[in-house]
């Protein structure tokens, strides 16, 4: 029984995976460090959305907690990167 809803959820998940692949290409080929960090930021956002879609696909709503905590950790890691780069340039 594949309804319109199930096929649409699969399409959304496939588009998210394609976007993840494109972002990883920029992580590998990014010429400078901030390019890679920007790409990893987008990877984090995509994974947050993907975990949220997985709760729809599997029906296990507990996974949305992982989505919340990953969004929190992503911001802190970006903050740490910025402090690290600015500190390193002054010394």
């Amino acid at each position: 029984m594949e309804s319109f809803f199930d096929i649409s959820v699969l399409i959304v998940i496939a588009v998210l995976l394609l976007s993840l692949l494109l972002a990883f290409v920029r992580v590998v080929t990014g010429p400078t460090l901030p390019d890679r960090v920007a790409a990893l930021e987008l990877v984090n956002v995509i994974v947050v959305a993907f975990i949220a879609m997985y709760t729809v696909w599997s029906g296990q709503v507990a996974f949305i907690d992982a989505s919340v905590s990953l969004a929190l950790i992503a911001f802190v890691s970006t903050l740490a990167f910025a402090r690290f780069v600015m500190r390193g340039s002054e010394s």
Binding site: V15, A39, A49, V61, F75, F81, M86
Partner: protein
Amino acid sequence: MTATDARDLVAILLMLAGAAFILVAALGLLRMPDLPMRLHATSKAGTLGAGLILAGVAVFHWELGVTTRGLVTVLFLILTGPVAAHLIARSGYFALRVKLWEGTGVNELAQNHARQAKGREAGPGDGSPRVT
């Protein structure tokens, strides 16, 4: 059409729109020529796309706990996305001196923050209006 069907339709429309925005963000990240343009693509379109998908998930489940967590995640993404992009762009421009695209016309940072940008070599887009 029952209420559940209508809610599923709204949810799947939100999810499809969010996936389209995230795809646009990834394409922009891959195709744009320098760091500020890549951040321009990823920060706004990526945050909007993930926010739409999380709103769709919140509408789909429609329980108090799950919907609240989804909406809190949307709020948090909207709050932290611009701050994170600003930090990355600032550290890239001032600390790592990332080269801008050669077609950059106006660079107001070069004039207003000349003290912090000291030592940055004069390049395209450093204050002078673009010729041709």
